[in-house]
Amino acid sequence: NAGVTQTPKFRILKIGQSMTLQCTQDMNHNYMYWYRQDPGMGLKLIYYSVGAGITDKGEVPNGYNVSRSTTEDFPLRLELAAPSQTSVYFCASSPLEGKQYFGPGTRLTVT
């Protein structure tokens, strides 16, 4: 099993550009999450999903959108990138009430 994979690993965006961060898991987990981690800080939840077709906002959803059309995939869309979105983004998945498995992260810089 590959676990949780994320692409790309690094990206530089100009202000106002858009992009999609990809996340795929092969563990058949119902729960998937997107977090951002700013330097020296803990993680903040952006969006999460409890199953295909179901998504909900986390602590910091503004400026982002998600979709969950399959169990495996949970892409995160950034519209009109802003410098405040410079961060490391982690995708994670988990079974119900179980440990979360994290992807390797995407380091995004918006200039």
């Binding site: 729960y31 999450y33 020296g40 800080m41 803990g42 993680l43 903040k44 939840l45 999460y48 409890v50 909900d56 986390g58 602590e59 982690f90 994670a92 988990s94 119900l96 009430e97 179980g98 440990k99 979360q100 498995y101 994290f102 992807g103 390797p104 992260g105």
Partner: protein, 114 residues
């Protein structure tokens, strides 16, 4: 609103010593998670604590949860250098769609010196 506070934020230990990291949360939380993060790396889930009095142990790490005191602890026994990392706790809001709405502490950066 759930707030999660860890202390200490920085901890320098000598190998062989014991120490405890504390995680306090501000309101009712029905689950508590502990994670480890190595510099520049992703997070690794360590423990999931789902009930009052829950205790879980793996190797030199032991986590416990006291929901009445709104406190979780991560106890390190006979520290070794390999335990050097940043440790995060996270609490879940009741009714948050189960595992949704996890609120993270700022992390405890642990350095174990010989």
């Amino acid at each position: 609103e759930l707030k999660v506070e860890q202390n200490p934020l920085f901890l320098s230990m000598q190998e062989g010593k014991n120490y405890t990291i504390y995680c306090n949360y501000s309101t009712t939380s029905d689950r508590l998670y502990w994670y480890r993060q190595d510099p520049g790396k992703s997070l690794e889930s360590l423990f999931v604590l789902l009930s009052n009095g829950a205790v879980k142990q793996e190797g030199r790490l032991m986590a416990s949860l006291d929901t009445k005191a709104r406190l979780s602890t991560l106890h390190i026994t006979a520290a070794v250098h390999d335990l050097s990392a940043t440790y995060f706790c996270a609490g879940g809001l009741r009714g948050g769609g189960s595992q949704g709405n996890l609120i993270f502490g700022k992390g405890t950066k642990l350095s174990v010196k010989p």
